[in-house]
């Protein structure tokens, strides 16, 4: 059982580190690179660097509000 826990923990750490390095590269390092370097192929246009976190944050907020609302409705129906 602890092996499954360790595997999940390791996967989470790898995902978080890769997201961090990709985002750092995207926002900070890429503007200094020449326009016709091959690395620009692997990164989306820079507007998406703001769009994707904002959309994810709004989606998370909506999900949280919906979840809280559902739980409140369920508890009210029982009582």
């Amino acid at each position: 059982m602890e092996l499954a826990d360790r595997a999940v923990g390791f996967l989470l750490s790898v995902i978080s580190l890769s997201i961090f390095t990709y985002y750092t590269f995207w926002v900070i390092i890429l503007p200094f690179v020449d326009g016709d370097h091959f690395i620009h192929k692997y990164f989306l246009p820079r507007e998406y660097a703001i769009l994707i976190p904002v959309v994810a944050g709004v989606a998370l907020l909506c999900f949280l509000c919906a979840f809280i609302g559902l739980v409140m409705l369920k508890s009210k129906k029982k009582a």
């Binding site: 059982m1 602890e2 826990d5 360790r6 999940v8 923990g9 390791f10 996967l11 989470l12 750490s13 790898v14 995902i15 978080s16 580190l17 997201i19 961090f20 985002y23 750092t24 926002v27 900070i28 503007p31 660097a49 703001i50 976190p53 904002v54 944050g57």
Partner: protein, 89 residues
């Protein structure tokens, strides 16, 4: 009450620093606009990393588990002698 005052002071300080950076243009303007989003994303990443590391280093204490099982067996035996129904066997 004191805790939230500390948090709000920290937020105000960070906002003032960010506005100062915008005004004096030490770093290029486009960087300064992206800085808050970058910090929020990096904070989320840091939280995820801490959760992952905590999961990896969670101790299981096998000796304590063995002692606990012994305690459970003793308690079951004692209660059965007193005639109480112990449930799952």
């Amino acid at each position: 009450m004191k805790h939230i005052v500390k948090i709000i002071t920290l937020l105000v300080a960070i906002t003032a620093f960010w506005i100062g950076l915008l005004e004096t243009a030490l770093v290029p303007r486009s960087y300064t606009w992206l800085l808050p989003v970058y910090f929020i994303v990096s904070l989320g990443c840091y939280g995820l990393l801490m959760v992952g590391v905590g999961l990896m280093r969670f101790p299981t204490c096998p000796q304590e588990a063995g002692l606990l099982q012994q305690d459970i067996a003793e308690a079951k035996k004692f209660l059965k002698q007193s005639g109480i129904d112990v449930g799952s066997e």
